[in-house]
C-alpha cells in the first residue's frame, strides 16, 4: 500500500504534468528595457491627432503622400473625443452647407453607423448650436483611426516632439514616446497641436494673450429631477450646473423635446502645451468638480445626485497663436470677407469666454459666412511649414470663432493639400499656386469660398 505522503507527491506530479497548460511553460528572462532609437522618413508629418490633425493626416494620405501622424495621447479626435465636446459644428449656414470634405464625411459616417438623425439644416435656427451634430464619440474615435490607417497614415501614439531642425530642405523632428526615441525626416510639417508647439520649437513667432479663455471639463450628472427641485433653497450660482446644458438629441421624435444633458466646470488658464500644464488643468478641473459634487449633494432634492460621466481630460479653448503671413481680424470674420486665397469657410459667433463667468458673443448677420485664407496657416519667415486649427493666425476675437471644430477640420484638410502639393513640387506652401490647392481641395470634397 502506497504511503500517504508518496501518494500526495505523485498526485502533485500528475496534476502538474496534466493540468498545467503548455502556455504556462514559456517563462523566460527578458532583455533589460531599452529605448528603441531609429530614423524614419516621410513626406508629410502631422503633429497632433486631435480634431484638426486627424483630418489633415487622412487628407494627406488620400492625396497620395507618405504621412506620419504623431499624437501624445492614446486616441484620435482630441477635443471632439477625449475632451468630450462631441457635438462638432458648424458645417451649415443659412440653409447651405459651408464646410464639407473629410470632416463632414467622418461626422456623417458616425451619424449613419450610430443610427442617428441629422439636425434640420434647412431651418435657420434661433440658436447656432442647434446645427451642431451630436455624435457618438467612441464611434468617432474608431472611424477616425480606420480612415487614417486606410489612407496609409502611420499613426504613432504616445509620442511627442522634443526638437526640430530644418536642414538641407528637410525637417528633422526628434520625438520621444514610450520606449522610443525617433528622428523623423520629412518634407513638410503640419502643426496641429492647437498650441503652435512645433512652430514655437522651430523658432517662429507665437503669441499669447495676457488672459486666456478657460478650459472646460465636461461631465454629466444624474440622480435628481431638476423640475422637482426647490430652486429657492439652492444658491443661484448652482442652477446652471443642475439644469445642465441640453444637446438636442439626434434621436428626437415628433414634438417631444428630448435632450442629452451635459455640464462643465471652467478651468481657468487651462493649457495643454506641456505635460505639466495639462496635468495642472486636469487636476484643477477634477478638484473643482469633486468639490462641486460634494456641495450639490447638500441641497434638498440632490441627496442622491450622481456623477454619471466624466470626460478624460480638460478641453482647452485658447493658448498660443502663430504670427502668420496674414492675421485674420474680427472685422474680416464678421463681415464675411472672402480672401483671394480663401481655402475654407468658418461659421460661428464671436464667442469669447472672458473671466469664467460671462461670454462675449456677437452673431454673424444673415448670409454672412467667414472665410480662412491660406496665409493665416503659414508662419512668417517659415519654410515647408503649416499650422491648422485654433493656433491659426488671428486676433483674439476672430480666434474665438475660428477655434471651433468644423472650422478646424476645414483648415486641417486645406493645410494638408497645400503641404502635399508643396512636397511634390519641392517648394514651400506659400509658393504653391493657390488655384492648384483649391482644385485639389474641391476634388476631395472640400467647399471653397467663392468671391461674390
Amino acid at each position: 500500500m502506497m504511503k500517504r505522503r508518496t501518494m500526495l507527491k505523485s498526485m502533485g506530479a500528475v496534476s502538474l504534468g496534466m493540468v498545467t497548460p503548455s502556455f504556462a511553460k514559456g517563462e523566460r528572462l527578458v532583455e533589460p528595457y531599452k529605448v528603441k532609437e531609429e530614423i524614419i522618413t516621410t513626406e508629410i508629418l502631422v503633429v497632433g491627432g486631435g480634431t484638426t490633425g486627424t483630418i489633415a493626416a487622412i487628407q494627406s494620405g488620400r492625396a497620395g503622400a507618405e504621412t506620419i501622424l504623431i499624437e501624445s495621447g492614446s486616441q484620435l479626435g482630441g477635443t471632439t473625443t477625449t475632451g468630450g465636446v462631441s457635438f462638432p459644428g458648424i458645417f451649415h449656414a443659412w440653409g447651405k452647407q459651408i464646410i464639407g470634405g473629410i470632416g463632414w464625411e467622418l461626422v456623417m459616417d458616425c451619424v449613419q453607423l450610430n443610427g442617428d438623425k441629422l439636425p434640420n439644416f434647412s431651418k435657420i435656427p434661433d440658436s447656432h448650436w442647434k446645427h451642431q451634430v451630436t455624435i457618438n464619440a467612441p464611434l468617432y474615435t474608431l472611424l477616425a483611426e480606420e480612415k487614417c490607417l486606410e489612407a496609409g497614415v502611420k499613426i504613432r501614439y504616445y509620442e511627442t516632439p522634443t526638437h526640430i531642425e530644418f536642414k538641407e530642405g528637410k525637417w528633422i523632428v526628434e520625438t520621444v514616446g514610450k520606449g522610443t526615441k525617433t528622428s523623423i525626416v520629412c518634407n513638410q510639417i503640419i502643426d496641429c497641436t492647437g498650441n503652435a508647439l512645433i512652430a514655437s520649437m522651430a523658432g517662429y513667432d507665437v503669441l499669447r494673450e495676457e488672459d486666456t479663455q478657460p478650459g472646460s471639463l465636461i461631465f454629466r450628472l444624474g440622480g435628481y429631477k431638476y423640475d422637482a427641485l426647490d430652486l429657492t433653497k439652492i444658491p443661484k450660482k448652482h442652477h446652471r450646473i443642475l439644469r445642465q446644458n441640453m444637446l438636442e438629441n439626434s434621436k428626437r421624435e415628433s414634438r417631444e423635446h428630448t435632450y442629452v444633458p451635459y455640464s462643465y466646470v471652467y478651468v481657468p488658464g487651462a493649457d495643454s502645451t506641456t505635460s505639466e500644464g495639462h496635468t495642472i488643468a486636469n487636476n484643477d478641473g477634477r478638484n473643482t468638480l469633486l468639490n462641486l459634487v460634494r456641495k450639490l449633494k447638500t441641497f434638498p432634492g440632490c441627496e442622491n445626485l450622481k456623477l454619471v460621466d466624466l470626460k478624460t481630460e480638460t478641453a482647452v479653448r485658447e493658448t498660443y497663436r502663430i504670427d502668420g503671413l496674414y492675421k485674420m481680424n474680427k472685422d474680416d470674420y464678421t463681415s464675411g470677407k472672402v480672401f483671394d486665397d480663401a481655402v475654407s469657410h468658418s461659421f460661428y459667433p464671436i464667442d469669447l469666454h472672458r473671466d469664467g463667468k460671462s461670454i462675449y458673443q456677437e452673431f454673424l448677420k444673415p448670409d454672412i459666412v467667414a472665410s480662412i485664407p491660406l496665409r493665416s496657416l503659414i508662419p512668417k519667415r517659415s519654410q515647408n511649414f503649416l499650422v491648422a486649427g485654433r493656433c491659426v493666425s488671428s486676433d483674439r476675437l476672430a480666434n474665438s470663432a475660428l477655434r471651433v471644430q468644423a472650422s478646424c477640420m476645414g483648415m486641417g484638410q486645406a493645410a494638408a493639400v497645400a503641404a502635399v502639393l508643396a512636397s511634390k513640387q519641392g517648394i514651400s506652401p506659400a509658393e504653391v499656386d493657390i488655384n492648384e490647392i483649391k482644385d485639389l481641395l474641391k476634388k476631395h470634397g472640400a467647399i471653397i469660398p467663392k468671391q461674390v
Binding site: 464625411e105 448650436w129 423640475d227 446644458n245 423635446h257 435632450y259 470634397g445
Partner: protein, 379 residues
C-alpha cells in the same frame, strides 16, 4: 388749443369705434402660409369630424369636394385665470394637414386680453401668432409655475460651448399674457399636432404627396419626404419632383429626398437614371448618399454602369471606393468595366490604386490582361 385737444379726442374715439366695428364685423384671424391653399372662393368644401383620442374633443377636417384635405381645426373654449379673475378663452385653432400650425381665429366680437384685461394690440396678436408657429420653444418642457420662476438670461448663465441656453420667459410669451401664450402654445404644439398628422398619413396618395411637396414651407416638404415610404409606386410626376429636390443646393432637403426613396421605388429604371444624372454635379456627401441608395436597388441599370465607367479615371479615392462598392453589390462583371478599373492600378496615388486592387483581387476572372496587371501591381 382746446379745440385742437377736443379734435384729437374725437379722432381717437372714432378710430376706436372703427376698430370695434371691424372686430364685430370681421373676426380676428391670423393665418400662416398653407400647405395646400384653400380651394377657390365659392367652391364648396366639406367638413368631416374626428375625435381627439387624447382630449376627447372634436377635430374638424376641411377638404375640397375632390377629397383633397386642406386643414384641420378645433374649437377651444376654456378659462384663462389670473389672480383669481377669469376670462373665457374662445378660439378656433387651425393646423395644416402636416400638423404644422396654420393659424387661429376668434369668433366675431371676441378678443384676447392680458392680465389687466387690456385687449391685445395688433402687434401682440402678431407676436402670439409667431410664438405659436415656433414648435422649438421649450414651453412643453416646463410647468407654467416653473416657467414663471425661471432665471433670466442676463444673469450670466448663457452658455456658448454648445450653448443650449434656457430661454427667458420674456422670449417665449406675449408680455402680460404668459398663461394665454403657454396654454395656446401647448394646444397648438401638443398631441393634436401629431394626431392630425397621423390622420393625413392614413390617406396619403401620390397626388397628395405631390401637392404637399409643392408647399412653400420646407417643413411640409420634409414631412412628405419622410412619408414617401408609404407609397409602393411613384408616379412620373412624383419622381420628377423628387429628382428636382435632390438637385437643389439645400443639403438637408436633398439628403432627405434621397433617403425618402425605398427599394421598391428603385425598380424604376428612370428613377435610377435620374439619381445617377445628379451624381456628377452633386456635393460629395450627396454623391455618397446617391451611390448608397443605388446599392439598395434590386438591380442596377445598364446605363448607370456605362455612364459611371466613364467617370472612373477622374474619381478621388473615396468616390472610387463608393462606386466599386456599388459594382460589387450588383455583381457588375463586364469586361469593359474590369478593364477600366484595371487601368487605375497604374495610378500614382497608392490610396487610389489600392482601391482598384482590392476590387479586382476579389473578382473571379481568368482574363490574362487583368491577371498580369494585378501581378505587376503586387510586385
Amino acid at each position: 388749443m382746446i379745440k385742437v385737444r377736443y379734435f384729437g379726442v374725437v379722432i381717437v374715439g372714432l378710430i376706436g369705434l372703427i376698430l370695434i366695428f371691424f372686430q364685430e364685423k370681421y373676426p380676428i384671424k391670423y393665418m400662416q402660409v398653407a400647405t395646400i391653399e384653400s380651394s377657390p372662393a365659392g367652391e364648396p368644401s366639406i367638413v368631416v369630424t374626428f375625435k381627439d383620442s387624447v382630449t376627447n374633443e372634436t377635430i374638424y377636417l376641411r377638404k375640397t369636394k375632390d377629397n383633397i384635405p386642406l386643414h384641420y381645426f378645433k374649437k377651444v373654449i376654456g378659462e384663462v385665470c389670473y389672480d383669481d379673475e377669469c376670462r373665457l378663452l374662445d378660439i378656433v385653432v387651425y393646423w395644416n394637414i402636416t400638423g404644422r400650425y396654420l393659424g387661429f381665429e376668434l369668433p366675431k366680437g371676441e378678443f384676447l386680453s392680458k392680465y389687466d384685461h387690456d385687449p391685445f394690440s395688433e402687434n401682440e396678436y402678431q407676436r402670439l401668432h409667431t410664438l405659436l408657429a415656433d414648435s422649438s420653444i421649450p414651453l412643453d418642457a416646463v410647468s407654467f409655475e416653473k416657467l414663471v420662476e425661471q432665471p433670466k438670461n442676463d444673469e450670466g448663465v448663457v452658455d456658448a460651448v454648445s450653448g443650449a441656453t434656457s430661454k427667458s420667459v420674456a422670449d417665449m410669451v406675449v408680455k402680460g399674457a404668459a398663461y394665454t401664450t403657454y396654454k395656446l402654445w401647448n394646444i397648438v404644439n401638443g398631441p393634436t399636432m401629431d394626431i392630425v398628422s397621423k390622420l393625413t398619413e392614413k390617406h396619403l396618395t401620390p397626388t397628395l404627396i405631390y401637392r404637399i411637396l409643392q408647399s412653400p414651407d420646407i417643413s411640409d416638404r420634409l414631412w412628405a419626404l419622410n412619408r414617401m415610404d408609404a407609397l409602393n409606386v411613384l408616379t412620373p410626376q412624383l419622381e420628377d419632383t423628387l429628382l428636382e429636390i435632390i438637385s437643389s443646393d439645400d443639403f438637408y432637403l436633398s439628403y432627405s429626398a434621397i433617403n425618402a426613396i425605398n427599394v421598391i421605388h428603385l425598380k424604376s429604371v428612370e428613377l435610377q437614371r435620374g439619381l445617377f444624372a445628379n451624381y456628377p454635379k452633386a456635393n460629395h456627401s450627396i454623391q455618397t448618399a446617391l451611390l448608397k441608395k443605388l446599392i439598395e436597388a434590386p438591380f442596377l441599370s445598364s446605363e448607370i454602369i456605362q455612364d459611371s465607367r466613364v467617370l472612373l479615371p477622374q474619381l478621388n479615392g473615396q468616390q472610387l471606393n463608393d462606386l466599386l462598392q456599388l459594382y460589387t453589390k450588383h455583381k457588375v462583371h463586364d469586361t469593359k468595366t474590369y478593364s477600366e478599373v484595371t487601368k487605375i492600378l497604374k495610378n500614382e496615388n497608392k490610396y487610389i490604386s489600392k482601391k482598384a486592387y482590392s476590387f479586382l483581387i476579389n473578382i473571379q476572372t481568368d482574363d490574362e490582361f487583368i491577371m498580369e496587371r494585378l501581378k505587376a501591381y503586387k510586385n
